[in-house]
């Protein structure tokens, strides 16, 4: 019997510059995903709406950026402009999908939102932070976005420093679904609360391409030699850490085993695992 001890992952310290880069990276990837989505399912009336540019209105929530400005004024003692430029702005980008029924006015049906969160106060004060975003912070952002009862919201919440585990408890509401996005060990990952209403909307917050995921798994395996040596580098282990589909992880495993003669893919039992061999 193998003793399973997993070391608690040390929270990664993120500086302003990295946080800003991650935030803009998230918004870029999110926007690209929305742009590539032709239609969106509305769980409220069980219909699929055309999400093309004709029916789409883009809005940004300025309140959150204003909050960052106010905090800088309050906490930073000098170089305020410089600090503001370096800081992530906690931006929120909303894609509103409007639809007009016959003989009725255009109505807002679905909102696809991307919102970024950072530990702003710590980033202003010390220039970096490893504090993960909490369920409370997420709740505030969701309340700000999902303001109308009659509209359904798909929200992708991205934290530049990662999420506290308790955040996974507040991802589902009557008129919204939240996907938690972050960057873990250099890889974009997303956690979706299990809910049938997601349907194809999951793709909106899946921020990495399959090639990127394969690369991310490869890099992950490289960093976890100890796990490999203990015969514990299974598909499930990678799934728990990165949240990528098993098919993608398996593909990456196959690539690694084909390239590295000291690694073999053990397929005699599920979950498949990579093991060390010396030939």
């Amino acid at each position: 019997m193998v003793t399973r001890i997993r070391k608690k992952a040390e929270p990664e310290s993120v500086d302003r510059k990295t946080a800003l880069l991650r935030e803009s990276g998230f918004l870029e990837r999110f926007s690209a995903a929305v742009g590539a989505t032709p239609a969106i399912y509305d769980p409220m009336d069980n219909r699929i709406y055309d999400a093309g540019p004709r029916n789409r209105v883009i809005r940004t929530l300025d309140d959150r950026s204003q909050e960052v400005k106010a905090l800088i004024r309050k906490l930073a003692d000098r170089d305020l402009m410089k600090v503001y430029e370096e800081m992530p702005k906690n931006q929120a980008l909303l894609y509103e999908i409007w639809h007009q029924q016959m003989f009725s006015p255009r109505m807002l049906q679905v909102v696809i939102a991307g919102v970024a969160l950072s530990p702003t106060d710590e980033l202003i004060r010390s220039g970096s932070s490893c504090r993960r975003s909490s369920a409370e912070e997420l709740g505030r952002a969701v309340n700000l976005i999902a303001s109308r009862e009659s509209v359904f919201y798909y929200i992708g919440a991205f934290s530049t420093t990662g999420w506290e585990e308790s955040s996974q408890q507040v991802l589902v509401g009557s008129n919204y679904l939240v996907a938690l996005c972050d960057v873990h060990e250099g890889a974009w990952r997303t956690y979706f609360a299990p809910d049938a209403r997601w349907r194809s909307a999951m793709r909106l917050f899946d921020l990495a391409t399959d090639e990127e995921k394969v690369e991310a798994v490869r890099a992950f395996v490289k960093r976890h030699t100890f796990t490999l040596l203990m015969d514990e580098l299974s598909e499930d282990f990678v799934f728990e850490e990165l949240g990528y589909p098993i098919a993608v992880i398996r593909e990456a495993f196959e690539h690694i085993a084909a390239e590295d003669r000291f690694v073999r893919l053990e397929t005699s039992e599920v979950p498949y695992r990579l093991i060390r061999i010396y030939g």
């Binding site: 193998v2 003793t3 001890i5 070391k7 030699t225 100890f226 040596l229 203990m230 000291f262 060390r276 010396y278 030939g279």
Partner: protein, 223 residues
Amino acid sequence: MGNSMLDKIKKMFGIKDVPDEVLPLYRGAKSKQEALILLKEALRRDESRRRRSMQDLEVLTQMEEELLEEGKQEMTEGRRLMLARRIKEIRSKGQALNNRIETIYNRRIQVFTQHIESLQTTVELEAEPIPEPKAMEDMAIQARKMVEDLEKSAELALGIRSNTEVDGIDDEEAEIMREMEKRSEETPKVETEPPKKEKPPERKEKETPKQEEPPEKDIIYEE
């Protein structure tokens, strides 16, 4: 084909049996050059395996160290026990890896290296072109000359040595030595070992000419 190569190798190295590590390599080779390539390739592979194993061993050692540190700080007995079990697993992995390095890679690498060196020398010698008869004759003459010179030098050296031996120790030197002995007797002895009795130099005896005994009178009378 493979066996004939193996026989050649045995004959060449003057050995009865070839180690198991290199046996398949010689069997698979068609020529000495090919055997050399196969040996070098096998050596490279094993060196790479050993390197990988050493790196892995380092990872295991580092993790063991970290867990030991963690165990030092850990307060709950349950968690400590878990850590101990984990460390046991790591050690067993490390032990297995260490054994592999010692009994497989180090041994094989040693055998491969020896065979590569021997085979390489043979292949290089065979590759040397045979000199012309005239050149060989010249070389033989030169060699003979060198031997003669060497013999002369040896004689000369022997001569020098015998001279010094004949000379032995002169009076002054003997005096100095007596002085030294006297000093050493005068100085208080620190050593606990009993002083060794020095033999009187033989040469000294040689030096003092023996007085020839006069011929016995009886004999003279007899004459």
